[in-house]
């Protein structure tokens, strides 16, 4: 399985180590790790809860992965997304791509995270000292995703 939704902390570096292990055909591995930040919009973040839509999430992630594989020559793809409550510094998401050449690996990695941000049903609830608030979608995320439309 190359697409996983997990409810407990995961270790991106251990996942990447397993992703690379024993491969002699791959020349290039690109990865992106998203982590909970302790600050957002000038307010301190105490914790973050990721809600998702089970069933639709896995389906959308699998579709985004298939789209990346159709666009770039990839040996392998890994997408892990955490859900539930997590603390600053904890990983939210890991995207990794393996290809013979770096351009394919780097572009596919950027594509995957851009599309995931706008097409996978996750919602972030931030806990601040003033209370909990839902994170608003950013227009810049839509623009980042739109550059891959064709």
């Amino acid at each position: 399985m190359t697409v996983r939704v997990v409810e407990t902390p995961f270790d991106p570096s251990a996942e990447l180590a397993a992703f690379c292990r024993g491969r002699t055909d791959v020349g290039a591995i690109a990865s992106f790790i998203g982590l909970v930040r302790d600050e957002h919009g000038g307010e301190r973040i105490l914790a973050m809860t990721l809600e998702h839509y089970p069933g639709m999430t896995e389906r959308q992630l699998a579709r985004i992965e298939a789209e990346a594989r159709a666009r770039w020559p990839l040996f392998d793809v890994l997408v892990i997304h955490r859900v539930g409550r997590m603390l600053p510094g904890e990983p939210i998401v890991l995207v990794a791509t393996a290809s013979a050449h770096r351009a394919a690996a780097l572009e596919a990695c950027a594509f995957l995270i851009d599309w995931l941000k706008t097409k996978a049903p996750f919602w972030k609830l931030e806990e601040t000292p003033a209370g909990a608030r839902w994170v608003e979608a950013r227009a810049s995320d839509e623009e980042a995703a739109a550059r891959w439309e064709r």
């Binding site: 998203g34 990721l50 809600e51 998702h52 839509y53 069933g55 639709m56 389906r59 959308q60 997304h81 939210i92 998401v93 995270i113 995931l116 941000k117 706008t118 097409k119 996978a120 049903p121 996750f122 919602w123 972030k124 609830l125 839902w134 994170v135 608003e136 979608a137």
Partner: protein
Amino acid sequence: MRIRYFAWLRQRVGCSEEEVELPAEVRTVGDLKRWLGSRHPRFAEACAAIGVVKAAVDHEFADDDRPLAGAREVAFFPPVTGG
């Protein structure tokens, strides 16, 4: 048909899911929004703001003109913010 709500829309409506029997005249996602809005005033309020309420039919993103024939589950939620 099962209706599901997520994130702040779930909190506004006050439930995460409900089973409904649709009247025959509710044929599309847009029809369903209006019909649900008559039951949940705060859902109607959210739908009045453009782009704030997204929908999925059987796990696929769907626009207002998407027909409901054969659908088992419709979900409503705010724009996604994962990653």
